[in-house]
């Protein structure tokens, strides 16, 4: 099912929660909706699932305008979608009762096999008789997912589904959600503030801040090419530097950094840590930007090392392999040269 929101506004008691949000999720997409807590993700999901009505704007499901739908019509459309909330509410009774609920309200009675199938798919086999309220957070969330997908929805909404789940269970659930998306071919819109979820599962990402959509598009480019400062800093990028632009240079502190485009006024640039090359000697001039820097400390992990540097009054980070660290003999207080191409420098609005 295709979801389209057009110019959605929603306010509660005078406080604006969503402003002019327009978003399209195509059939089969897995769209991650990211943003800080309180930015309106839950409201957006509820409006999309017809649990709430926008003050203005349109909600189109498969091209049908649903914002003004009422009564039976609304219920029937909503039955083609499903939603998993942050802290799942378990109906009183067994796990099986919870699972049978969705089909039950549609007048459908599941066979024992169908129940067993969905239990197996969500890793709940053998737990159908358990009282749903005595389960752990992770198990409850699995039940919530199971009962949401057993109705074979065309559109699945997930509202920070791994929030109330402890770290150990997260990867398992994440894999489960991804697998269900692939196997059932449904459209998914998942709100999360954990970027790893977005990176792992989604092919599209939308960034929401304070009720406004900051950026939406394919996941890779959104993460790789943040449209503005907010997205960039939310995504947690390092090496964001406030600069004054002069022609094709960005001036920050004592550094004149060459950039690929002409720019004016003040702004921010972003130097991705992975484009910074560290060398012991001044590199040749094929790299336009080269600076002398002091290593302040090194964070080591098995996969990569983050080298923290100071240069020209700025603090920067570079990412190198542990082998390079060893090979170059990098350590605290070493003096090194850092270099990066002008074209690798991103200009942020």
């Amino acid at each position: 099912m295709r979801l389209e929101l057009r110019n959605v506004y929603r306010a509660f008691g005078g406080k604006r929660v969503l402003s002019d949000v327009s978003l399209t999720v195509e059939q089969g997409d897995f769209c991650a909706l990211i943003g800080p807590t309180g930015c309106g993700k839950t409201t957006l999901l509820r409006i999309s699932d017809l649990l709430d009505t926008p003050d203005s704007g349109r909600v189109l499901l498969d091209g049908v305008d649903c914002a003004g739908c009422r009564g039976r019509g609304r219920t029937m459309i909503r039955r083609r979608a499903s939603m998993v909330m942050q802290r799942p509410f378990m109906l009183s009774g067994t796990v099986e009762k919870n699972i049978r609920f969705g089909p039950g309200v549609r007048g459908k009675r599941l066979t024992g096999d169908e129940v067993a199938e969905v239990l197996a798919a969500t890793g709940l086999t053998g737990m159908e008789g358990r009282n749903a309220r005595t389960l752990s957070g992770g198990e409850m969330q699995k039940v919530a997912i199971a009962r949401a997908v057993v109705t074979k929805p065309e559109l699945l909404f997930l509202d920070e589904p791994f929030n109330s789940v402890d770290q150990g269970a997260k990867p398992e659930l994440r894999t489960l959600v991804g697998r269900l998306h692939r196997e059932m071919g449904m459209t998914v819109l998942m709100a999360t503030h954990d970027l790893a979820d977005a990176l792992a599962l989604s092919n599209r990402t939308a960034v929401l801040s304070d009720g406004r959509l900051m950026q939406a598009g394919e996941t890779g480019p959104v993460f790789g090419n943040p449209a503005n400062l907010f997205v960039a800093s939310f995504i947690g990028m390092k090496n964001i530097i406030p600069v004054a632009f002069e022609n094709q240079e960005a001036v920050a502190g004592e550094l004149n950094i060459h950039i690929a485009e002409k720019a004016e006024g003040n702004g921010f640039i972003h130097i991705p840590p992975e484009v910074i090359t560290i060398s012991l000697e001044r590199p040749d001039s094929s790299q336009r930007n080269a600076f002398n820097a002091l290593i302040t400390h090194i964070e080591e992990t098995p996969m990569y090392d983050t080298v923290h540097l100071r240069t020209g009054g700025l603090a920067l980070q570079a990412v190198v392999t542990p082998q390079s660290t060893g090979h170059l003999g990098l350590q605290r207080n070493s003096r090194v040269w850092i270099s990066f191409k002008a074209t690798s420098v991103r200009i942020l609005a």
Partner: protein, 230 residues
């Protein structure tokens, strides 16, 4: 004091030998009170659901007013229904006055605020997420109300029992619209009030013991249902 003890003995004897008059009055009281409570529940539980889910200006004020009517004086309810059912009143031709049906009507009116208010409280006590979860799973508004009532079932049962307790122990409405006619509209409470007025101590005590036992039973059941939360 001796007289009182003597009266007690007679009272117990009336109860345990199944004195026909006492039994008849008790049975009628139970039937009328049960009917009133059940009918009130059938009407006002759904209405309570509607009020709980609806949002309109003045809703809070309306709910406050309902709660204020919990202790509506029974004679007030009785008087209103009397005026309604009297021959000169709008529903006079229905010939309902001085029948048990009139008592049921008055008691339904009397217990309406109690049922409404307690149902709204009961629904408020259910997890706020419940309604959304259930709707998201595809439940229609009526199905949603049904699930929420089920989740709050012990509170709903309490509401029923409280309503029952209120009607079985009231005398003002039953007296006014029933007339305390022997063999037709005499209930435990109206019989006691007549008996006391006449000095029929033993009979009044017998009826009083039965009434108190029923009231205690109801109270006990409310307590039990309150202990068990879903």
């Amino acid at each position: 004091m001796d007289k009182l003890a003597e009266a007690f003995v007679i009272a117990l004897r009336l109860i345990f030998t199944g004195d026909p008059v006492v039994m008849e009055i008790t049975l009628r009281t139970l039937t009328v009170s049960a009917s009133s409570t059940v009918i009130a529940c059938l009407i006002f539980i759904p209405l309570g659901c509607v009020l709980h889910f609806a949002r309109f200006p003045g809703r809070g004020f309306l709910i406050g007013t309902i709660q204020a009517f919990y202790s509506m004086p029974t004679v007030f309810a009785g008087l209103l229904i009397f005026l309604l059912l009297s021959r000169t009143g709008p529903l006079g031709e229905l010939r309902l006055l001085f029948t048990t049906r009139a008592i049921v009507i008055a008691q339904v009116f009397l217990v309406a605020p109690v049922i409404l208010g307690l149902i709204i409280s009961a629904l408020k006590g259910v997890d706020g997420q419940a309604a959304d979860t259930v709707r998201a799973l595809g439940a229609s508004p009526m199905q949603t109300a049904g699930v929420l009532l089920f989740e709050a079932r012990f509170a709903v049962l309490s509401a029923f029992l409280m309503g029952f307790g209120r009607v079985i122990s009231e005398v003002g409405a039953a007296m006014m619209v029933g007339g305390n006619i022997a063999g037709r509209t005499r209930t435990l409470t109206t019989a006691i009030s007549l008996g006391i007025g006449r000095g029929e101590v033993a009979e009044s005590i017998a009826l009083g013991i039965i009434l108190m036992t029923l009231a205690l039973l109801v109270s006990f059941m409310v307590h039990l249902s309150g202990l068990r939360k879903a």
